[in-house]
Amino acid sequence: MTGFVRRFGTLAALVIIIIAFSIASPGAFGSPSNLINITQQMTLLAIVAIGATVVMAVGEFDLSTASIVSFGGILVVFLFKVGVPAPIACLAVLAAAAVFGAVSGFVVSRFEVLSFIATLAVGTIIGGITFWLCEGATLFGNIPAEFRDIGRGTMLGLPTLTWWLIGVAACAWIILDKVEIGRRLYAIGGNREAARLAGVRIVPNTMFAFIVSAVLSALVGILLTARIGSANPTGGGGYLLSAYAAVFLGMTAFREGEANVPGTLVGAAIIAVIGNGLTILGVSTFLQDIITGTIILAAVLVRRAGKQGA
């Protein structure tokens, strides 16, 4: 029984929150269109959080994610301005992010620098480059309409953004849970020295994790720009903390204390549902932040209490 609560307690919490909001506001919150809308609202946060999950699997943090989101948005519009076609511009943005991820991963694994510090530094550098590219201004105009379609509209009845989330989550789940590299990443996160002595190569595997995180953050920057039709040099600022909040909530679900993709999705959904539900109920955004923070704290404390009881 306690094992069941431990594995599925966080998921149960999500269901309870959804039911509670549905009762409080049956017409608006509980409507199918609003529930589908939530999946769209959570997409960008969830994709950043999935990147963070991969980095947490190797036991590290990537604090440069928010900077890369902003950077991705600015760079793609910058490339449009100089006449680069949309598909090439997007690939170039993802490649640039991969380079940043590779640098962070290399510094962290090869020189054993704390990832907190290394990615904070890399994030600061990326922030500087972003402001340099846009000269501090919001960029709009020159954005091709077909590019904007990747972040808006619907496909087969679901919002396009939701499809992105489904695709990214499936790929990340396969990488972490189904193929060899995932075993190596979790082995490094579980016991780096043991993994190394068993022949797992720390540097390339850690670099891989940071590259995934950086590329997913840049993808979010691109999708954000496509959705709102402009790019702001601080557009990604809000994603860092809520993405890690989603990962931490997710670590309380399904597996014991390990970052995992299904858990992160539940975590991101909890944050999105609370935001959406409170907005519909007309609660002010300040109060929303206070409530969200309290719920995260409560989830982690409940889990700790459960662990000590076991």
Binding site: V179, I181, R183, Y186, A187, N191, R196, A198
Partner: protein, 504 residues
């Protein structure tokens, strides 16, 4: 008698750490506590510090029996412990370090730094006059840090007994001499000192009395002036007539591992040796002799600048574990929890991590199959008779012996040409020990060259065809056949070569 310990016993699971240990320590004397690795010295000390509760026996202080309940209680009794791993705050000075965890002198609500400095200067004048007191501990030498620890032991409630665990293990001779003086002055102040050391010459020099532990029991005790060095060695090894199974080196087999000119230890010495296919080479040495770091170099976990390592003629690049694995190498580390098991992952994954290709669903697809993971775990389970409930349970649900088998099982299923074992049965009960020995022998019989280090003399004698003894950064003996006896091994292990003092 300040301290008397009578017939102390302590069991850990099936293993007896103490089995009738006695020791009497008088105030104002320096008492040498001797014994080979695992003889029970550490457990005895832990019972004094309140970390371990003995199962039977008595501890008497001034003739009155006491139960030491906690570390705090031991401290109140006036016991002080100076461990091998020093616990100083690196950027604190000697004065600041000496007061950590003690009552600070105060002036009003503020710490009175002048009074702190005065108190320490007074003690230091007595114990170690030339110790710099205003330098951060990080910039002190190991010997000076030891002196800070001694001073620290004398701050606060009056110290009656100071236990020093191998304080000179990593000191140069000059530094060791300075420490010896400090220890003598400590005794002159009426403090009793228990001095644990592997340097027999220094024990003969500075101790008044000795107690030798063997297999958890007191093997001998007395006045240091009535015994000589060979006498102490005899008491420690105690198995001159031990039954010896002749384990001859396999004759015709070719050399598998060849190590030449490899830097070893902290003093610029080199080591070279060969192991034949099917041979088990044992490395014996006291704690701190550099065995583990040598094993790590051979495994490629630590890089090296000079020297070469070849396995069956293939050169192994320094620091490349992958080279060893590709050439048929396997490694079982010393520290199961920190270097061996990935405790957050399942047993099956722990068994598969070194050879993920073996658990693919299809040979060309890097997709890990749950069925394949389970099948592999079941294979290892039956081959090594691992007792486990489920392949997908966590490794810490197993007993120590079964956990250790997982580390062997990790390499199972492909031809092993080199097997490196670092303390293969530490913390494992007797039955599992025999099974693990059988596994190690099986790897050797199948043609692996085995390099093993162990602190357990019985294990060494049970497994090794040949033994290299390391001491003070040198190979002090190579023993095989009839010369492979406990007494010869212990004698070579205690042959501490005097090092040149860099300051002298």
């Amino acid at each position: 008698m300040l301290l008397s310990i009578k017939a102390l016993e302590k069991r850990y699971g099936g293993a007896r750490a103490l089995a009738g240990a006695n020791i009497d320590v008088a105030a104002g004397s320096v008492h040498g506590l001797l014994g080979e690795n695992g003889a029970g010295k550490s457990t005895l000390i832990k019972t004094l510090s309140g970390l371990v509760t003995p199962d039977a026996g008595e501890i008497l202080i001034d003739g009155k029996p006491v139960t030491i309940e906690s570390v705090r209680h031991a401290e109140e009794l006036g016991f002080r412990f100076i461990h091998q791993e020093l616990s100083l705050v690196p950027h604190f000075t000697a004065v600041e370090n000496a007061f950590v965890g003690r009552a600070y002198p105060k002036r009003g609500p503020f710490i009175d730094r002048a009074a702190m400095a005065r108190a320490i200067a007074e003690t230091a004048r007595d114990i170690a006059p030339d110790l710099p007191l205003d330098v951060p501990a990080a910039r002190l030498t190991t010997g000076q840090k030891q002196l800070v620890e001694i001073i620290r032991a004398l701050i606060g409630e009056p110290a009656r007994l100071v236990v020093m665990d191998e304080p000179t293990a990593s000191l140069s001779d000059g530094e060791a001499r300075r420490l010896h003086k400090a220890v003598r002055r400590l005794a002159e102040r009426g403090v009793a000192v228990i001095f644990i050391s592997h340097r027999l010459d220094e024990v003969m020099e500075i101790c008044d009395r000795y107690t030798v532990l063997r297999n958890g029991a007191t093997a001998g005790a007395g006045d240091i002036s009535y015994i000589d060095r060979p006498g102490l060695v005899r008491l420690m090894s105690g198995r001159e007539e031990a039954e010896l199974i002749a384990r001859p080196t396999p004759g015709g087999s070719p050399v598998a591992l060849k190590v030449s000119d490899l830097p070893f230890g902290d003093h610029g010495s080199r080591i070279a040796f060969e192991i034949k296919a099917g041979e088990i080479l044992g490395l014996y040495g006291l704690v701190g002799a550099g065995r583990t770091s040598l094993m790590k170099i051979v495994w490629g976990a630590t890089s090296h600048r000079e020297g070469t390592i070849t396995l069956e003629g293939r050169a192994l690049r320094p620091g490349h574990i992958g080279d060893r694995i590709a050439a048929g190498g396997a490694y079982v580390p010393e520290d199961r929890r920190h270097e061996g098991l990935i405790v957050s992952r399942t047993i099956a994954e722990n068994l598969a991590i070194a050879n993920l290709k073996a658990v693919r669903v299809a040979p060309s697809l890097p997709w890990v199959g749950l069925a394949a993971l389970k099948r592999r775990a079941e294979e290892v389970k039956s081959a090594l008779s691992v007792k486990m409930s489920s392949a997908f349970a966590k490794p810490l649900t197993l007993s120590g012996g079964n956990q250790q088998k997982l580390l062997f099982g990790r390499w199972f299923g492909r031809p092993i040409r080199l097997l490196i074992l670092d303390e293969p049965t530490r913390g494992v009960d007797v039955g599992a020990k025999a099974e693990i020995h059988a596994v190690a022998r099986r790897f050797a019989d199948e043609g692996a060259a085995v390099l093993m280090t162990t602190s357990d003399m019985d294990e060494l004698l049970a497994l090794a065809n040949r033994v290299l003894v390391l001491a003070g950064g040198e190979v002090t003996a190579e023993l095989t056949g009839p010369s492979l006896t406990p007494a010869r091994i212990i004698d070579a292990a205690f042959q501490h070569q005097s090092r040149k003092d860099p300051a002298a």
